[in-house]
Amino acid sequence: MRISYREAMRQALHDALASDPRVFLMGEDVGRYGGTYAVSKGFYDEFGPERIRDTPLSELGFVGAGIGAALGGMRPIVEVMTVNFSLLALDQIVNSAALLRHMSGGQVSVPLVIRMATGAGRQLAAQHSHSLENWYAHIPGIRVLAPATIADARGMLGPALADPDPVVIFEHAQLYNMEDDLRDEPNEDWACDIERAAIRRPGSQLSLITYGGSVPKALDAAAELARDGIDVEVVDLRVLRPLDTATISESVSRTHRAVIVDEGWRSGSLAAEVIARIVENCFYDLDAPPVRVCSEEVPIPYAKHMEDAALPQPARIVAAVREVLNV
């Protein structure tokens, strides 16, 4: 069955709403408008305004309300239109959602799912192009997911809702139109694990480790390298917190080389954390220093050629791999 990432996410949301009366979707323009990325199109008519709840432009208020509703026995899915606007809700996410369990000595769980679009690549300029997944991945108490395939877009939401703690799901805006066969379904409700990284393309010479919107770019780069006889493994992190250190280490121990691709800026990036774990866990297996392909340290520019130059691209990934392999 060939479907888009958008459709996969829509089906996942539909399943959740249809199967559990505690689940409701709340956010800006999720209802009558049908969702900024058209993910919730038709839901308003099907599930009604109580469960497909349009909110004012009050990210702090409605994310906080989602936390309260989760405490009160509901299973809210809060859509923050993009990661850029999530900064307005950061206090509630970091100071309440992530901390309440600990601060209360384990008395409460906050079963809240927060979805947001992330990433650049559509000439939306600096304020609409952030990739701040690493900020969230820094915080104990929340789980951070980055579905990068149709199967993950279809299968991560269910387990995220079943998680008793807050889960933040980053949907790269460039992925919504991606189409693929929905395959490898492990069970009839498509649920996948939200614990482990996944090897998207096995390879022997180098581990290309990435997540989210950079996964297709890494796969493109790997395909191009394969034409020149270079055999690269592509690891999709999938879960940005807690990081699956075991899968990363296993891959790098086998290939002895690593390139990390991360649309976040280099300084303080997730890529930096991945490299730190590689060095901590398989330093003596490395044949070359790990290398990062990150966004350039510049606010994302509007002009197309400049935006392209600021972001990780398959050509830069290919060049980085060749540098590490010295070929």
Partner: protein, 336 residues
């Protein structure tokens, strides 16, 4: 005690004696507990931030007695009194301040984060205004599940400068949610006076701009607080939408134990102390023939005894083993 039993007796405007004495006793319990906390802070038994409520006891006391046991309560970092009157045992509060595992938040929260979810006390929140969106969400969950319950949200007047106040007020009014907003206006946000931080100092006007009904009462008068909260809670319960009550009050002590109080006159503090809620209510009761000095001393001694027992409990309680450090970060256990 139901509303009828609380009704003023003819003649002197006092509620029936047992209830009046309960209010006085509860104000004394908060006062004596916190005086001991200040002492224990000096002795370094209690550390971190300690925000005392001394002077404001009529607010929590009057308000808490107007709520039902099944209502939700969201409070601030100055919440010792609210927790106590919600029914959190003083032992557990004191142990929490000592940082002991027997504390009401297992020693992980401290003074600012008292929790007791079994009593629907959703905590001390130490981000000013942070509790308002949570209260809106709790009320939303109740509404969506068909539960008739009030969510009472305490906050100080400092919170009205935060976006969370405005967003929370708007959402509660827009969605007609049963939130009882209880603003303890003690005139100073830490050291900044209300008229130095707000262009509009009439807080009810702000709430009314969101079409939220309001009441403004003397927060030093426990009966006035009780009656206003009771009326407001009743309206929330019956009509479903939010209500805003402002208590005009004053804290007699510094903002926290680190505050040298350079921002207000001693004369102002003294003036408010003369209107102290315990002192004025007991005088009122005595004038009405409802309390004797011996009766007062008896209530005070009971409070002191409860405090002494709580301190002994906290002292004796064991420390949580460091091996447990990573517990309660996530529900399913520690991750790295």
């Amino acid at each position: 005690m139901n509303a009828t039993a609380r009704k003023a007796k003819a003649g002197h405007g006092m509620p029936e004696r047992p209830f009046a004495h309960r209010l006085l006793a509860d104000m004394l319990r908060i006062r004596r507990m916190e005086e001991k906390c200040a002492e224990l802070y000096g002795a370094q038994k209690i550390r971190g931030f300690l925000h005392l409520y001394i002077g404001e006891e009529a607010c929590a006391t009057g308000a808490m007695h107007a709520l039902d046991a099944d209502d939700n309560v969201v409070a601030t970092y100055r919440e010792h009194g609210h927790a106590l009157l919600r029914g959190v045992p003083m032992d557990a509060i004191m142990a929490e301040m000592f940082g002991k595992a027997a504390g009401c938040s297992r020693g992980r929260g401290g003074s600012m984060h008292l929790f007791d979810v079994a009593r629907r006390f959703y905590g001390g929140n130490a981000i000013v205004g942070g509790g308002l969106p949570l209260a809106v969400g709790l009320a939303l969950a109740d509404r969506m599940q068909g539960i008739r319950r009030v969510t009472a949200c305490f906050f100080g007047e400092g919170a009205v400068a935060e976006g969370a106040f405005h967003e929370g007020m708007n959402l509660a009014a827009l969605w007609r949610l049963p939130v009882l907003f209880l603003c303890e206006n003690n005139l100073y946000a830490m050291g900044t006076a209300l008229d130095r931080s707000e262009s509009q100092t009439e807080l009810c006007v702000k709430a009314a701009s969101y079409k939220v009904p309001t009441l403004k009462v003397d927060g030093m008068d426990v009966l006035a607080v009780h009656e206003a909260t009771r009326r407001a809670a009743q309206q929330v319960r019956e009509e479903g939408g939010p209500f805003f009550v402002e208590f005009r009050t004053f804290r007699f002590r510094a903002h926290s134990m680190f505050d040298p109080e350079l921002y207000r006159d001693k004369a102002e503090v003294e003036e408010w102390k003369n209107r102290g809620p315990i002192h004025s209510f007991s005088a009122q009761l005595k004038a009405a023939g409802e309390l004797t000095e011996d009766g007062f001393l008896e209530l005070d001694a009971e409070a002191e005894a409860e405090v002494a027992a709580a301190v002994a409990f906290a002292e004796a309680a064991p420390w949580e083993p460091v091996e447990d450090l990573l517990r309660d970060v996530t529900t399913r256990g520690a991750t790295r």
